[in-house]
């Protein structure tokens, strides 16, 4: 019996009635992962500890809907006692001594951490091919990328190994791979989820996000991980809320904006056509959809490059071979420790970004580039906020193309940024954004649509997403299994 393909309420009922136990679920998850081994979705499996935890839960009261359910974590989320590598050689033996706040929250719900999922090294990349452990493969076509940087979490959810995964999204790293693999991926408002224990890439942009096969489960998972955290000064002081509360409601009177930039010729035709079809559906159901211009939206990749690389160059300075992690053996002096450890420990993409970031902050450049970028970023956020004075939500395609081939060349340093041109603006403005699958291209690869909300209006995003999900009723199991939304 495949319990993990049942509806979540049914699994919960079976657990409550003691017809199944968390051990059954964990064993099934590991069987799934094993049968999908070639997808390379994981860096580290947590088999022994997951089973131990599952057995421990057998006698416990089933106190919440997420009880006993397996979850995968992107490998840049710190887990006590469980290797956390950020897909980098420099941390490939790093066993943390504390838990990220989100991990504490998952444990409080008695969810079971099944393993640490593959990703781009330090979340830098858009195809997960910069992973020290090799790239994950797209369950829809193993020749294709799963996207990135949260490629592993997207792969394992899309392949139906597990129901839940957490990723991180600095410039689209949850939404873009969700789009490429046909799953639901939410990047919450900056500050909604604590970043404590998320290994920083670009601190002012990073946010942990939820990745699931459907909208309802996504909202449930978000319920579990949000909240003000005393350990993270950038976490927002917001009351808890139920993000599922608008799911299933009609969309009559909803006002939706589509930025012209999102439907320009940078996006391939098949994807634009799919989005237009969805727009029709929305209009037919009583929503108003209008095209708008958002100033600076076409500059966001430049802003992102400056801010993300600048911050990354500083955030990754701590990996120096002194206190933890990889260290050059028998160094002749302190510079040997620094230079050789970092040269050996970091991959090419990471080195490139650290060097460019260092340059952008160096001397007068900090003023010319970095401060200017922060200033325009402030303006851009105000532009977005203005749009939300007139509209409830913004929609558009998540990506300009569908997933491309794993063996496409990697020699263009700008490519990984351009893959994310449509998802980056959301991080720059700190807003919540979600990918919802809306169909397939001619090669049967998933196409995704992005729904962007005003700050802290994730519930409204789930509202529209659930409507689209229900209306389109797509078959989203790459192996052809039944839907169970």
């Amino acid at each position: 019996m495949k319990y993990l393909s049942l509806k979540i309420e049914e699994i919960n009922k079976l657990l409550k009635e003691k017809k199944i136990t968390p051990v059954d679920l964990v064993e099934e998850a590991f069987e799934n992962i094993d049968s999908n081994k070639e997808l390379n979705a994981y860096i580290t499996l947590n088999k022994e500890e997951a089973l131990r935890k599952a057995r421990e839960l057998e006698d416990r009261e089933v106190d919440n809907i997420l009880f006993g359910l397996p979850i995968a974590l992107k490998d840049n989320i710190i887990t006590k006692g469980l290797r956390t590598t950020c897909a980098s050689h420099i941390l490939d033996n790093f066993i943390p001594i504390y838990d990220a706040t989100v991990v504490e929250k998952l444990k409080a719900k008695n969810m079971i951490i099944i393993g640490k999922a593959n990703m781009d090294e330090f979340a830098m990349g858009s195809s997960s091919r910069t992973s020290y452990f090799g790239a994950p493969k797209n369950p829809w076509n193993k020749e294709k990328i799963s996207g990135g940087s949260s490629g592993g979490p997207a792969t394992t959810v899309a392949a139906r190994d597990v129901l839940f995964a957490l990723g991180s999204d600095t410039g689209g790293s949850v939404r873009q791979p969700s789009s490429y693999t046909g799953i639901v991926g939410m990047k919450p408002t900056y500050g909604r989820v604590s970043r404590y224990g998320l290994v920083a890439f670009a601190s002012s942009l990073d946010q942990i996000g939820t990745m699931t096969k459907n909208v309802y489960e996504n909202a449930l998972l978000l319920n579990a991980i949000v909240g003000k955290d005393e350990k993270d000064l950038t976490s927002a002081n917001k009351e808890e809320e139920d993000f599922t509360r608008l799911i299933g409601k009609d969309i009559k009177g909803m006002k939706i904006a589509v930025p012209n930039f999102f439907m320009s010729d940078i996006v391939n035709n098949e994807i634009r056509d799919k989005v237009k079809e969805v727009i029709k559906v929305l209009e037919n159901n009583g929503a108003t959809v209008e095209f708008v211009d958002i100033k600076y939206i076409d500059n966001t990749v430049t802003l992102y490059q400056i801010i993300a690389m600048g911050e990354a160059s500083s955030n990754l300075a701590r990996f120096d071979g002194i206190r933890y992690g990889l260290s050059k053996e028998n160094p002749k002096d302190i510079d040997d420790v620094y230079y050789k450890t970092r040269a050996e420990g970091f991959g090419e993409e990471v080195k490139r970004r650290i060097m460019v970031g260092s340059y952008l902050l160096s001397g007068e450049n900090a003023k010319i580039y970095y401060n200017k970028a922060l200033s325009i970023r402030d303006d851009m956020r105000k532009e977005f906020i203005n749009v939300f004075k007139d509209y409830d939500l913004i929609i558009g395609p998540t990506t300009t193309t569908t997933a491309y081939n794993l063996d496409d060349p990697m020699d263009d340093p700008k490519k990984s940024f351009m893959d994310d041109v449509l998802v980056i603006p959301v991080n720059m403005a700190g807003l919540p954004g979600l990918n919802i699958p809306i169909g397939f291209d001619s090669n049967n690869m998933p196409i995704g649509m992005q729904i962007i909300g005003n700050a802290f209006e994730e519930a409204e995003i789930y509202h529209l997403a659930s409507f689209i999900e229900k209306e389109l009723n797509l078959k989203l199991d790459p192996k052809g299994g039944e839907n169970n939304e």
């Binding site: 950020c86 504390y98 990220a100 224990g197 000064l233 950038t234 120096d320 002194i322 206190r323 260092s358």
Partner: protein, 474 residues
Amino acid sequence: MSNYFATVGVEVHVELKTNTKIFSNSLNGYGEMANSLTNVVDLGYPGTLPTLNEEVINLAIKAATILNCKIRKKMHFDRKNYFYPDNSKNYQITQARTPIGYDGYVEIEVNGEKKKIFIEEMHIEEDTCKSAHRGSKTLLDFNRAGVPLIEIVTKPCMTSGEEAKLYLEKLKELLFYGNISDCKIEEGSMRADANVSLRSSLDDPFGTKVEIKNIGSISNVKLAIEKEIERQSKLLDNNESFKEQTRRFDDKLNDTILMRVKETGNDYRYFPEPDIPYVILKDEMISSAISDLAMLPDERRNIYTSRGINIVNANKLIANRSLSDYLNNFIDTDMDFKEASNILLGDISAYLNREDKEIIDTKLTNDKFYDLVKKVSDNTLTSKNLKDILVKVLEEDKTIDEIIAECGISNITDSSMLEEIVQKVISDNPDSVNDYKAGKDRALKYLMGQIMKETKGGANPKLVNDILKRELNK
């Protein structure tokens, strides 16, 4: 040397007296086992984030107030990026662009004239870890990593080592009195760097700047600056040019030693710390920090001298803060401060030093001290009496009257008993009585002496004087 004008600026780091570190809740302590006062934040573990200690902001507001600085109400932190093993994140969190305090001054007295030393800015930052060099290795102890600091930067407005010394002494006194820092230079909780440059004329631009780092004591700051002025003068005399550089002072060689020459200027790649949002100081927070500020030395000095304490004793009290704080409990009373300061600085200090105690460790209550000063001041107690009863006063839970009774001192202040003794002395010394009546004052003193002898020094002199005169004038 007299051919040049020296320009001196001073940068001081002081560690703040808080319970916890600035960006984490581990203990801010000194002298503990290596690496026992740390957590994952101090060590810069991946994924950790800074929090911001409220007390650091409070103390910084107080410091800014004491230094007459303007207080910035909206500020942020910056990252100063540099690789060094004592820096766990390889960046230091500091305030490069929005220091909490700016445009202040400290007043010193140079050769009897007041001079304002202008403070450019004071900002908050974190301390680095401590490193010890052992042969081919450097050992790192992160207990100090993240200890809160304020850095206070003067304008280049001093002209000599002596001025720098006076400034530092004043600064130390102020920060100590503000309860902001221990200011223990030997433990590193106060550290000073000096910048020195020379020029031939005050109309010239500033000369090449030399920084002298981490000078171990205030007197060495003076010495280091004087030596550096001497060194630079010689170079200039010989038309030798030199580059901007960092030196250290070696007190054994009594000279400054080159550490490094600045080539291109340090590239610290400052940028706003994204992990800490703006800090916005509400007016209530500022006013509550200021109202909590202890009375500063200058105000104490004014009060003490205006209440009859001489300047030497006033300064002695201020140098011993716990005594000064103790005396301040009586500002609103009619206590004789002059007598009180004599007692505090005399017998009580001697006792405290001998016993290695603080005044709060004794049984001296405010009421007892008030009573004691009053009795000494109105001659109920002689200085010898005071010496005799002091240990009891400080060690026993009894009132002054109870102690006096117990020691039998009350017998001597008993006037009927004294009258008997006076009568006896008068009848034993008729010559002196006649001399007195003939207007010789010395005779009175002699008679007094005789009475004191009879009472073994235990009589109240004022009372003796009164009785004696009354009897003689009969």
